[in-house]
Symmetry: C2
Subunit: 408 residues, 2 copies
């Protein structure tokens, strides 16, 4: 079995956490910002130093390639992302990326050749925090999104993706598409949930990714002075929103043990306390591995919104802004990950990924699989996110052995 | 009986609506802004033209005085405010102020002397939209607030009240306090509620003002990735907020027919849909003429917040930011208003004011009363606010006759 260099892994993980690092030990490294540029430059140097051929494509994805023995064999790709949430953790993304690079380092050190080329990739803007949608660049690469549409997406300041890419020098010369057929893709990521820790497992063998819907709903009421306006005459958009906020998790609980329902954003701009709220915008989400349960959560909530609007005498408008179908990974990738964990003596479990990841998109191009590392308390998208070095190490060892198995 | 000059009233009401007027026919004339300055300058000219002695005090209150016959008689004061909500209506404030001025105009035209001096006042910052608290300047004048504390209050850009007064040239030379004893204060204001219209009355005889509490509550949850985090492990601050939002009006309804309970502000800053909301701030209000019912709403809601916090495994912090006790007006002022309405042949009703007004503060200095004008559909603090010229005229006639009765 291959074994990662634990000290190198810790050292590189610590180094990357400097770029956009926050006082609380997290990351503020939004996609295509100056912080992202610094991290990317550092990563490109690592690829160079490891002797890889570096390519940058038109959407800023960075590839490093180590050739295989068989000129006809298609590459095995491993990777993740360097960008973070506004106040995210330092493991979400970088651990998978440096884990992928570790395979190359170990192959070099052990002087091992592979039949297939091995490629390492940093995907642009996985998080979708600055530019929507998330997983934008793997989506373009996989042919799911149109490059020009994605270039035109803007951040809160009206800066386009294209301008941001040019600004940091990462609008690369390569087409944003696979230059050839790919054999397989593997990604290591932190679990971002509490299952592995609760089940006391070392690593997770991911069998697929949940589907989800995001829907935006706006309630329109009647602004009015609160003191003189009797309760029964009010058309209060915030009370309607309150009903929806409490209803969405109830609907999820009713649907199944696995369905998640969340109101994740609310916007009501007035600071004038004594006015009946007149316009409140919310975004709600349903997530499940069973696409029918996502659809059921969506439909039931639309019905509920109609009732809420009638009950509170307000208007409601809803429109779905994102829908992802669930993705089932390929058996050979699942088995490669599971076998690697077994052979390394790790206690593993099969599980779904509960959130979107670039592999959702890459799965449209080639066979795909994922390794999950333990997330302490299941925390992520927060500076408190934490994975112990032991757990990082186990996950990286699983990744590099699975990757070697596929590439060998 | 005195009668107002209807055409002059309409003409002045129409003129003032130009200063900060919005396309939708409302007003954007926040306290101590350039729009407020223009309206104040125009109003000072009107006072001059009417032959009044103009005084401006240290908190920007503008007084115009017409002397009485008896040098020992204390003045009768009438007034209201020129400032507006961010997108308020054009009657809220100006109607009462121009109604007060109308008394002076009519006295001059009819060549009528009064025993008491008659004063007209424009109170600074009634609305509290730009600077907190509302009714700030009548509060200073009545000795309820300390001038230096109020000077130090800042708007969202960090501009202090004092700097804003200096900027528009309305930090006046007179002390911000009554220069002598006052005999009485009368204010005409739109009802800002639907009662007069529903009861088909011409004017309202206000017997007092409701009390209220504003309390700020923040829920602290645990940010976490929504997809992988099971519903039962969540600490969702927004779901807790949703419970509070729906509970506050329920508590008001349970307490009495007259109690109003509203969540009037909510703040949750994240736009990241897939994160369990971690920090949500709300401001809630209880309003009633019975102070015990305000207190009961306050206490029950604090208890409810404890239960909500336990139920959703979140932390909650609450602090009361404003409390006004209810105010009962003086019989002689109530009777003067009621008699004026009766003598003019108007159909009137006694009622409480459902919202705060400067008379709350002035009542601490002298006997106080109010006249209400009909508010169409009870709308106010919105550009759609409307009072017909007929209803304006009836209310102004009631005001000037009541004022004349007290000053005569």
């Amino acid at each position: 079995m291959l074994t990662a260099d634990r000290e190198r892994l810790i050292s590189l993980m610590t180094e990357q956490a400097e770029f956009g690092g926050t006082d609380a030990g997290g990351l503020h490294r939004l996609a295509l910002t100056e912080e992202d540029r610094v991290a990317r430059d550092w990563f490109c140097n690592l690829l160079d130093d490891a002797g890889l051929d570096v390519r940058i494509d038109a959407i800023g994805n960075v590839f490093g390639r180590r050739e295989g023995i068989d000129p006809d064999a298609s590459p095995v790709l491993l990777g993740s992302h360097l960008d973070s949430q506004p106040y995210g953790g330092r493991f979400d993304g970088p651990l998978g990326l440096l884990g992928a690079l570790e395979l190359v380092h170990v192959l070099e050190e052990e002087d091992l050749d592979t039949t297939h080329p091995v490629e390492v990739v940093n995907w642009t803007n996985e998080e979708g925090a600055r530019f929507q949608p998330p997983m934008m660049a793997s989506g373009v690469w996989a042919g799911k999104y149109d490059l020009d549409d994605v270039y035109a997406a803007t951040d809160d300041n009206g800066v386009t993706v294209e301008a941001a890419l040019e600004e940091i020098g990462y609008k690369g010369p390569e087409p944003a598409e696979p230059p050839e057929a790919y054999d397989a893709y593997l990604e290591l990521h932190i679990e971002q949930g509490p299952k592995l820790e609760r089940e006391k497992k070392d690593v997770g063998v991911v069998t697929g990714i949940v589907g989800l819907t995001w829907t935006e709903t706006t309630f329109y009421g009647q602004p009015n002075h609160t003191g003189p306006t009797p309760m029964h005459l009010r058309q209060d958009a915030l009370v309607a929103a309150g009903d929806l906020i409490t209803q969405v998790p109830r609907t999820a609980n009713k649907l199944s043990d696995t369905t998640r329902g969340t109101v994740g954003a609310i916007e009501y701009d007035s600071e004038a306390i004594s006015i009946v709220p007149d316009e409140v915008r919310l975004v709600w989400e349903f997530v499940d591995y069973e696409d029918e349960l996502v659809e059921a959560g969506y439909q039931r909530t639309l019905d509920e919104i109609e009732q809420i609007a009638r009950r509170h005498d307000v208007e409601a408008e809803s429109s779905e802004i994102t829908r992802f179908e669930s993705v089932a990974f390929d058996d050979r990738c699942i088995q490669a990950v599971e076998a690697a964990a077994d052979d390394l003596g790790y206690d593993s479990m099969r599980m779904h990924a509960g959130a979107g990841h670039d592999p959702m998109n890459v799965a449209e191009v080639c066979d795909t699989g994922m390794v999950f590392a333990v997330s302490e308390d299941g925390l992520s998208h927060t500076e408190e996110e934490y994975t112990s070095w032991d757990d990082c190490y186990s996950a990286v060892n699983t990744l590099i052995n699975a990757g070697y198995q596929l590439a060998k």
